[in-house]
Every structure is written in structure tokens, then in C-alpha cells.
């Protein structure tokens, strides 16, 4: 589904990713771990299409399409969704208006008919209930004045509504208490399916207790230096990243 080949990415002319290779098949959950500054968030943002991330080399294909040739919104239409580490607050745009616009934009791009206001409201309510979100959430301005946990929960609501093929969690767990973490994990677990893959970027193993990954990769200094299964995450939690760094330096 997602094929990343020799991806090199610079931010403000500083090379962050120095040749990343990664393949994700339908239904798989991959975790990307690594110390601070290793480039794991850069990978997530490069897939999502953030403009400040300049791709200097390599390719990303998604469902056979050249992802790097697609606009940000086109990537969303194709089925890529990134839950933000810091969701943006947008005063004056209600959550409901935002979600309706996003759903109908996707439907239009996919050649489906727009949902009527009644159908939309029904869908919003259903997904909100599924994630244990109060309906008053929908009337508030997008993320404005939301707590950290509420923002992340809102990201999960968006993901549930937009039903992506690939869900990327960009350090969604950072700064969350255990209850909020469970909500995020529950949402991902509910959405897991044979056709839907996840890329979970995290600094901590904690989240992976709740979302059990099929593969764990460690990024260090812009490259994936080690891959394994969920045991690798546990090892990292116990031993830290130093041994990875030592191995990487030793080559």
C-alpha cells in the first residue's frame, strides 16, 4: 500500500531524513520509534505533505500513485490521514462545519454525492458516540480552548469520520494522561481492519501497550536502523536508545 524508497527530506536546508525505506501492506500497524530529533515526525509530515519539508530524493507511492506529486488535499482524498501532534486551533470555524466540509470534500473527490445536513448530523453523532465524545464538542470552535486530551480525541473523531486507508499518528500520545491515551488507542483499535493500515510515530512504548503493532522500526539520525516486532519496543523501553545509537555508530 505505502512504499517509501530512499527518502531524503530537508527542513530549512538541513537534511533530516537521509534515505528511509519502508513498506506498509494493507491492514498492518507499524510503529516508528526513535530518540528526539531522529526524524520520526519528519517522516510523518513528509507523507502528509507539509510544505516546509522538502523532498530532495526518493519516492513515496501510495496505492500505486506517486504521493509526492499530489497536493495535500489530494493525499487526503486518496486516503492518507495524519493525526497532528499539535492540532491547530481555528477560532470561528465550528467543529461541525469543519467536519461537514471535510466529509463532503472527500465524498466529492471520490465521486460520491454530498451528504444532506440531516445525514451528516446523523453520521457525526454516531461517530461521536462511538468515541465517547459529547455532542457539545461539535458546536465548539475547532480545537479552540480544547484541552490536550480533547484535541487528540477530536483528531480521532476526524479519523473515524474520514475513514482513511492509512492513519498516521504523529506523537499523538505525547503529553496525554493515561485516560486520554486509552481513548486514542481505543479509537485506533476500533478502526483497525484488513484494508486499513497505521503508522504510529511515538517516543514512548506506553502507547504500544494499547495498540499492538505488527512491526516496530527505530529511526536514528535520519535512517531506519533497526526493525522488529513488538518485542523491540519493550526492549527500547527497558534499555533506552543508547544501545541503538552505539550499534548505529558501529555500523
Amino acid at each position: 500500500m505505502l512504499h517509501i524508497k530512499d527518502l531524503r527530506v530537508s527542513v530549512e536546508d538541513k537534511e533530516i531524513l537521509k534515505g528511509v525505506n519502508l513498506d506498509i501492506n494493507p491492514g498492518e500497524v507499524h510503529a516508528i520509534m526513535g530518540p528526539n530529533g531522529s526524524g520520526k515526525s519528519t517522516l510523518a509530515n513528509a507523507i502528509a505533505g507539509r510544505e516546509e519539508y522538502q523532498i530532495t530524493q526518493g519516492s513515496i507511492t501510495f496505492d500505486g500513485q506517486d504521493l509526492l506529486d499530489m497536493e495535500v488535499d489530494e493525499r487526503a482524498h486518496a486516503g492518507v490521514f495524519m493525526a497532528f501532534q499539535y492540532p491547530i486551533e481555528i477560532p470561528g470555524v465550528s467543529n461541525a462545519t469543519f467536519l461537514k466540509s471535510a466529509i463532503n470534500a472527500l465524498r466529492e473527490a471520490r465521486g460520491q454525492e454530498e451528504l444532506s445536513p440531516v445525514e451528516l448530523l446523523k453520521l457525526l453523532r454516531e461517530k461521536a458516540r462511538m468515541l465517547g465524545i459529547d455532542e457539545s464538542f461539535l458546536k465548539r470552535s475547532l480545537n479552540e480552548g480544547f484541552s490536550g486530551g480533547e484535541k487528540k480525541r477530536n483528531e480521532m473523531l476526524q479519523m473515524a469520520l474520514l475513514e482513511p486507508k492509512l492513519g498516521i499518528l504523529d506523537e499523538t500520545d505525547s503529553g496525554l494522561d493515561i485516560d486520554a491515551l486509552r481513548i486514542v488507542a481505543d479509537a485506533v483499535n476500533q478502526l483497525r481492519g484488513p484494508e486499513r493500515s497505521f503508522l504510529i510515530v511515538t517516543h514512548y512504548q506506553r502507547l504500544l501497550n494499547y495498540i499492538v503493532p505488527d512491526y516496530v522500526h527505530v529511526i536514528y539520525d535520519g535512517r531506519i536502523v533497526k526493525s522488529g516486532d513488538k518485542e523491540l519496543a519493550i526492549q527500547l523501553e527497558e534499555q533506552g536508545y543508547d544501545w541503538i545509537k552505539a550499534e548505529a555508530v558501529a555500523g
Partner: protein, 446 residues
């Protein structure tokens, strides 16, 4: 004055003279009518004054030369079709409608005969036949509204023949809004219209005014010079809405002078969407304490539109509050001007005055000139003012796009949200809804 400018003024005065002569010649037996006298006096005043130039501080960013150079004819009424009114009337408001076409009252489409109790609306010509009212009107026009000499006020008084007096009786809470619908229909010559209102909100009364300006053809040339004099007696409340959708070639000068007695509340809500060159002069004089004055306005300019807002709030007495929030967006080669002055005089202790102007300038050729001014001579007051000029938050654009919302739509949503902060203050929901829809429509067409 330069020779060119001198010529310009001569040309303007010539066509004004001609136009006034047409009026004089048509008076016949009404030569001595108080309105004729009133207009003649205003015309003499006008002849003694010059139109402002960009050397005048308050007109530094707005030139009236293009507006005044070509001669205009008095507007002629046109027979309206049902569809012309459809988009101008807000049926859900159940308003008292007063429809003007090209500045001429269309009695057939107006609700002059079925007014709610406590509300009186009559032509200025008729109002002036009554001694006390005539003196009240004459007292109103004596005021300068703090913005100094404004030639467009005598210009309005000299030429307005269709002015109205709106009076809310003592303690009358008029629930039905008074909706003044000013329509411009294309005619043979560029026309000149002079909407004019004298509003008397008596003690304890409540009145809602809506002015909407709309062109039936999007690129017809005309000049509207409107003037409102509004007086709020003690404990009165007036909500005053103004929705401006003139044609792309139209000029508009809009003047509102408000006087507030104690415990009164005046709120102005405005949306400037249309027009080629629009200048609003809005001022309030506070006559007694414990008043509230609110100015909320948006402007949305594209193409070569020029939208200028001048405001003045004169705090001369203690314990008064004013809130002023102007927000606007300029794209293409549009220009915006905000010159907001709040005066807090020495006696105006315990004044609360807040003023903010925020603009988004979204193209390299668009310009915003803003000058928030706060002059404080009292020492126990709470006042703040500020101005910001910025662009859209690109991280917000990315966030919306990352959810599949196309770029254009994402930018429009953010612009609507920016202006929406002002629209949300509009208490009258059907009007607020209309303004939101008009903003959305304008952003989509751009």
C-alpha cells in the same frame, strides 16, 4: 489650490448648480415650503465649502475626485418586478419595509400605512410643516458630529427630497424592524441619490433600523450620498444595521450622526461588500452618562474596491462605554482605510472605551491604512485600542487541507471565520445569517 484641482471644483460646482436649478424650477407653488427653505440654506452652505482633498487629514487616503467629476442626474423611479425585491427583502423579519428605487420612495412596495403602535414614519417635507419637529430637525443638522466640516452633509440636505422622519414614541418597544431598502436600477444617466433619515427614539423606546443598499445591475454607475441623524433620548435603544452591496462602479458616502442621552444604547452593525468607492462617516456624541455605544463592522474588498471607515466617539461625560470592532479582508488591488477616533474628555471619568481594527491583506497589491486614535484627557478610565494587519495562518490552511478540504475552500473558511467574529455580534439572527451568506457568496465569486 492647483489649477487642475480648481477646474475640477468648478466642474463639480457647475453640475451641482445645474441640478439644484432643476429643483428650483420645478417648485412652482412650493417655493416657500419649509423644506425648500431648508434645502436652499443647505445649498448656500455647500457653495461656501469646498469638497475635501487628500490634503485634509481625514481624507488622506481617499480621493473624492473620481466620484464628483461627472455630472449626475436625479434618480428616476423604476417599476420593480417581483424578482427585484425577492433578494432584497428578508421575509423572516416581518419588517416595516420602505423601498426606494434610485433614491425615490416606492409607495407601492412600502408599508407606510400599517405601522405598529408607537412608530411614526413620515416624509421630512410633511414633518417640517409642524413647528416643533422642524426645529428639532434643524437642531440635528447643526451638529458637526465631531469629524469637523463634512461637505457631504450639506450636499445631502440640499438635494434630499425624499427624506424620512422615523419616530419611536416614549416607551414604545417596536419589535418589527424598520427596513430601508435602497435599490439602484440602471438608467440612462448616472444618477445621484440622497437617502436621508431623521430618527427620534424617545425616552425608553426600542427601535431596530436596517438599511440595505443593493444594485439590481452589477456594474451601473451612480452616486449615493446618505445621511442619518439619530437621536436617542434617555434609556432608548437603537440597533442600526447597514448592509451595503452597491454595484462595482458605484460611489457611496454614508454619514451617520448619533446623539445619545443618558442610559441609552446605540449599536451600529455594518457590512461593506459592494461599491467601487465607499466612505462611511459614523460618529456618536454622548450627551449624558451611563450610555453604551457599539460599532461592529466588516469590510470585504476585492478588485479595485476602496472601502473607507471613519469613526468618532466623543466621550464628554462620565460612566459611558464604547466598543468598536472593525474587521476586514482585502484582496486583488483593493484598498481599505480605518480611521477611528475615540475622544475621552476631561469630565469623562470612568469611561470604558475599547477599539480594535484587524485586517487581512491577502495580495501584494492590496493596501490597508489604519489609524486607531485614542485621545484621553481624563485620568480614571479604562481604554484600549489596537490595529493588526496580517495574512491567513498557513498552518491552519494546511490543517484544513490535510482533511481533504481543497485549498480555495480552506482559505474561504478561514476568511469567513475571521469576519464571523464580528457577524456573531449581530443580535438579529436573520440579518446575521444574510451577512454570512453574502460573505460566502463574495468569497466564492472572487
Amino acid at each position: 489650490m492647483s489649477a487642475v484641482l480648481q477646474d475640477q471644483h468648478t466642474t463639480t460646482k457647475d453640475w451641482l448648480n445645474d441640478l439644484f436649478q432643476v429643483y428650483e424650477d420645478g417648485l412652482n407653488g412650493h417655493r416657500d415650503h419649509p423644506l425648500a427653505e431648508f434645502r436652499r440654506r443647505a445649498f448656500r452652505e455647500l457653495q461656501e465649502q469646498d469638497f475635501p482633498t487628500r490634503r485634509d487629514e481625514d481624507w488622506k487616503y481617499t480621493s473624492v475626485t473620481p466620484m464628483l467629476k461627472q455630472p449626475y442626474q436625479e434618480g428616476r423611479p423604476v417599476a420593480l418586478e417581483a424578482k427585484d425585491l425577492e433578494s432584497a427583502v428578508y421575509p423572516e423579519l416581518n419588517a416595516v419595509k420602505l423601498v426606494f428605487t434610485n433614491g425615490v420612495l416606492d409607495t407601492r412596495h412600502s408599508d407606510l400605512d400599517e405601522l405598529p403602535e408607537g412608530l411614526h414614519i413620515l416624509p421630512v417635507s410633511q414633518a417640517m410643516e409642524e413647528e416643533e419637529t422642524r426645529r428639532w430637525i434643524e437642531a440635528q443638522v447643526e451638529q458637526e458630529g465631531g469629524t469637523g466640516k463634512n461637505t457631504f452633509l450639506p450636499l445631502n440636505r440640499a438635494f434630499a427630497g425624499q427624506g424620512l422622519l422615523v419616530r419611536a414614541e416614549r416607551n414604545a418597544a417596536i419589535e418589527r424592524p424598520v427596513h430601508l431598502i435602497y435599490l439602484s436600477a440602471p438608467g440612462a444617466d448616472p444618477h445621484f441619490a440622497h437617502p436621508q433619515l431623521f430618527v427620534q427614539a424617545k425616552t425608553g423606546s426600542r427601535l431596530i433600523l436596517i438599511e440595505s443598499y443593493r444594485a439590481l445591475e452589477s456594474d451601473s454607475l451612480y452616486f449615493t450620498n446618505a445621511a442619518n441623524w439619530i437621536e436617542l433620548a434617555a434609556n432608548a435603544r437603537v440597533d442600526h444595521y447597514r448592509l451595503q452591496r452597491e454595484s462595482r462602479a458605484a460611489y457611496q458616502i454614508h454619514n451617520t450622526l448619533v446623539r445619545q442621552d443618558r442610559d441609552s444604547t446605540y449599536s451600529a452593525y455594518a457590512a461593506d461588500l459592494g461599491g467601487k468607492l465607499v466612505r462611511n462617516n459614523l460618529s456618536t456624541t454622548l450627551l449624558n452618562s451611563n450610555t453604551q455605544t457599539n460599532y461592529y463592522a466588516i469590510y470585504l474588498g476585492n478588485g479595485k474596491q476602496h472601502l473607507d471607515n471613519q469613526t468618532f466617539i466623543d466621550h464628554a461625560v462620565p460612566y459611558c462605554q464604547s466598543n468598536e470592532l472593525y474587521k476586514g479582508i482585502l484582496t486583488d488591488s483593493a484598498r481599505g482605510v480605518f480611521n477611528g477616533k475615540v475622544m475621552v474628555r476631561q469630565d469623562a471619568q470612568k469611561t470604558n472605551a475599547f477599539q480594535q481594527n484587524s485586517s487581512l491583506v491577502l495580495s501584494p497589491r492590496a493596501v490597508m491604512d489604519t489609524k486607531p486614535q485614542l485621545e484621553i484627557y481624563a485620568d480614571d478610565v479604562r481604554c484600549s485600542h489596537g490595529a493588526t494587519i496580517g495574512q491567513l495562518d498557513e498552518t491552519a490552511v494546511f490543517y484544513l487541507r490535510s482533511r481533504g478540504i481543497p485549498e480555495r475552500q480552506a482559505r474561504n473558511l478561514l476568511q469567513q471565520a475571521f469576519l464571523g467574529e464580528v457577524v456573531d455580534f449581530m443580535d438579529l439572527e436573520p440579518v446575521a445569517e444574510r451577512v454570512r451568506a453574502l460573505i460566502e457568496e463574495k468569497l466564492r465569486e472572487a
